[in-house]
Symmetry: C2
């Protein structure tokens, strides 16, 4: 399993991903699910991937090859990032179709993958998309400025409480880590290293990037501190004794 999320803030884009992949419980590995394509001063693209690893690796490889081969359309010459999201959807479908058929040994096999695609092209605003396994995509809204793929539910409540469009980026990054922590605590198939990236709006170059192993001092401190604070907060809640039983 996987958990990836991204947030579109006034200040820029935040991306966070885990690195655990598994094909059965005895085949657990660590792969980065965060991919960055940078043409400094002109355009930035960050991709997070979840789902079938073969499909997502093939999509990222093809994206890279198309840039190298300078094909008619690739990330380097696209006019809009939404076109890049469309193109990633098409690459993903093409990969999936290689293996899918109505009959034969692969009937019913669905090597689907989801992608979060965000970045900026010079002269355009920040953009952030979620590309479904079916190839189509959605974007964030002002009311709902984050997107998630993979094992999304455990980590959603804290995002719902904290993240707004005008949240400072440091807060959003910390919230992404707490969301990741909640997910890892409840689901053993999401695991470190955790990657975290902030792309500042209109920089078209710089990015803050962090990677946390399980034993990273900040990551350990954050997790322990959050757990302690949750316990304390919980203990300070008004107790049930403050209202009456009706039975």
């Amino acid at each position: 399993m996987t958990y990836c999320l991204a947030v579109k803030l006034d200040e820029g884009l935040v991306f966070c991903s885990d690195s655990r992949t598994n094909a059965g419980a005895d085949r657990v590995s660590a792969y980065s699910k965060m991919h960055r394509f940078s043409i400094p001063g002109d355009r930035q693209l960050i991709i997070l991937s979840a789902g079938n690893l073969a499909t997502s690796q093939a999509v990222v490889d093809q994206l890279e090859r198309d840039i190298q081969a300078d094909t008619d359309f690739h990330f380097g010459n696209a006019d809009y990032l939404s076109d890049v999201a469309d193109y990633i959807g098409r690459l993903s479908l093409d990969q999936q179709k290689k293996f899918v058929g109505d009959d034969g040994p692969m009937a019913g096999y669905k090597p689907g993958a989801s992608f979060i695609v965000g970045g900026q092209i010079k002269g355009s605003p920040l953009e952030l998309y979620l590309v479904y396994p079916e190839g189509n995509h959605i974007r964030t809204s002002d009311q709902h400025p984050f997107l998630q793929i993979g094992e999304t539910k455990y980590g959603k409540p804290i995002l719902d409480r904290i993240i707004r469009q005008d949240t400072p980026h440091e807060v959003a990054m910390r919230c992404a880590l707490v969301s990741m922590d909640s997910t890892m605590s409840s689901n053993a198939t999401v695991g470190p290293p955790i990657e975290l990236l902030f792309y500042p709006a209109d920089s078209l170059d710089a990015a803050e990037y962090y990677q946390y192993e399980e034993s990273d001092p900040y990551w350990m401190k954050l997790r322990a501190s959050w757990d302690k604070k949750i316990q304390e907060s919980f203990n300070e809640l008004p107790s049930l004794g403050e209202f009456d039983s009706v039975d």
Copy 2:
């Protein structure tokens, strides 16, 4: 959708359920999903239900009828609560089979339902089971003393952090409400009134029961207080500035 949970503590059993049912977004109603069967001094049974409403209502009705008709096996004469869980599984399957077929207009229709079944029979310890739509069931373990059905993921992290077998019942009940709050905040198809019940071990009679409408003063206070404390806790976490960027 639905969210129900139950906890097996040293002190007794805690049950919590929402009341929203929906058949499409324009057909939203409130039904209790908590059912209690009591033979004071002899046995107690509490059932929480999720899934197809027709199936779960029919199961609970049949359970009641079998007690009235004093059939060969019913809750009132069962030797073990696990047999009652088995019997609920059979009743559920019987209901589902009425509508399911390999062909015809109902082909592929699965009116499945899940149940949490807990209580105590005189002379036996507390028992708590989760009955799957397939009719089989699991129980809690010492390491994992709670069970959930329906929309389970949003509310699981707080249970993982707080609930242990020796947690006092008031704390576990409050935690169940916080878990319900997280679920309702992230999923609009889980809604009030919220029902909360505590059955004290070996009482074979008494139960503390609470019901919260959306506007209930304690419920509103709990939600607001939790939201505020989470925000405060979050703001007190060590900030990202305390460690170094590697890029």
